[in-house]
Amino acid sequence: MNGSKIMTIDKRVADIAAAVAGIKDGARVMVSGFGDAGNPTELLHALIDQGARDLCIINNNAGTGRLGLAALMNAGRVRKVICSFPRSSHSEIFQQLHRDGKVELCVVPQGTLAERIRAGGAGIGGFFTPTSAGTPLAEGKETRVIDGIEHVLEHPIHADVALIKADKADPLGNLTYRLAARNFAPAMCMAAELSIVQTAKIVAPGDINAEDVVTPGIFVDRIVHVPDPISEAEVLLQQEAGSGEAATGTNQQQAAGL
């Protein structure tokens, strides 16, 4: 880093345990990612080690394979999932827990989910959307015909914590993301009281062109450096090629086994 005058701001924490410190039982936790792109797997494993339970998870999916969100659910820490698509391939852990009545499910259309999260971050008290009008997902919701089209009133989603995977971060919390790994991360950083980011690269202030910042630092609270994040899809691909180990559990296991 340099001696720039704004270097008194430094949101980096020492390690991944410090990153998830203080997350409370019962917390509402937003988790970035769509499929395998943008999952904060190491933060989720640290949350298993940290011990918080009775969590309400907000994510596009409901965990796949055995790592990350699936591992957190398998550890019995999740009470409820708010998501758009819990039935991805390899989502057996969630499906079993849901069938057993151990995890509650709230399904939200993906665009409504994204917009509700943004509304939470942007101070919007509610909004009308045509999406889901006339469908079972609108049952019990206020509706209104606007310009001849039936709309559903949707409410903002806030969270106590967001767990986010970025590609680059500077100490002020300015972030960029790789390719399609961006998805829900920017809106979740806005909507959570405490935004915790694992980033593959840490750069000096100014190294991200100010015009290219995707998430401005105002929406970020803690940064932890995870230089080589695990990808479950890559693990599965290696397994199919016969070259991989079974992937399981926590960061300790990950450090030992993978």
């Binding site: 792109a37 943004r118 999406t131 006339g134 961006r182």
Partner: protein
């Protein structure tokens, strides 16, 4: 009367849908393909056709599937398949991606269906079974938001039940959203006057088609034969 031709195969249905997508518009045609059979439509569109594929997870300018060994799992489709992008692609977040969908900026979406009603209601996300975990993804946003909603589906379910029905019995994805239904037997437009058969499988009578359909169909006397690829 000639015996009916073989119904269209999945690839032939995808080819037929592709014929309906405007090519080489200088302003581009923005298309979102649903997961499953709709993805096949891309196989039948020329490379330089001025069509930009949108992926709900934040991509405009999706290209071909990634070659083995070149997969990057930060670059996947809505169906979680590793993919590539073309020059001039753009990445953006989920709120912008669904602003494109919900704001009416996607010209055409191609989706599968469990049922389509006479008035263009679509059911394609849940069979309502208590044993199945419900999962909607972006289906409701696409059905409601795209300028035109094309459905690609077999005319009948595996058990022979009609997929085009008077009223959907499965949970709705959207009400009155379908523009055109492309089946293995016909092309049918949803219009204010009801379901209009635009093309019908060569050798199949309207009465035959009606017998496989759960809602009333109308067709011109000179309704053309269902187009199919030459090869």
């Amino acid at each position: 009367m000639t015996p009916p031709m073989t119904p269209l195969s999945r690839e032939q249905m995808a080819w037929r849908v592709a014929q309906e997508i405007p090519l080489r518009a200088s302003g581009g045609t923005y298309v979102n393909l649903g997961i499953g059979m709709p993805e096949l439509v891309a196989n039948h569109l020329p490379d330089d056709a001025g069509i930009i594929f949108h992926c709900e997870n934040g991509i405009l300018g999706m290209g071909p599937v990634a070659r083995p060994g070149e997969e990057d799992f930060d670059l996947i489709t809505a169906g979680k398949k590793p993919v590539t992008v073309v020059p001039g692609a753009a990445f953006f977040d989920s709120t912008d991606s669904f602003a494109m969908i919900r704001g009416g900026h996607i010209d055409i979406t191609v989706l599968g269906a469990f049922q389509i009603s006479r008035t263009g209601d679509l059911a394609n996300w849940s069979t309502g079974g208590a044993d199945i975990v419900p999962a909607v993804g972006g289906a409701m946003d696409l059905a409601q938001g795209a300028k035109r909603v094309f459905i690609i589906t077999n005319h009948q379910a595996r058990d022979g039940a009609p997929k085009i029905v008077e009223t959907c019995t499965y949970p709705l994805t959207g009400a009155g959203v379908v523009s055109t239904v492309f089946t293995d037997l016909a092309v049918i437009d949803v219009t204010p006057a009801g379901l209009m058969v635009r093309e019908i499988l060569d050798g199949l009578s309207l009465a035959d088609l009606q017998a496989k359909t759960g809602a009333p169909l109308t067709a011109a006397a000179d309704c053309p034969a269902l187009a199919r690829p030459q090869n």
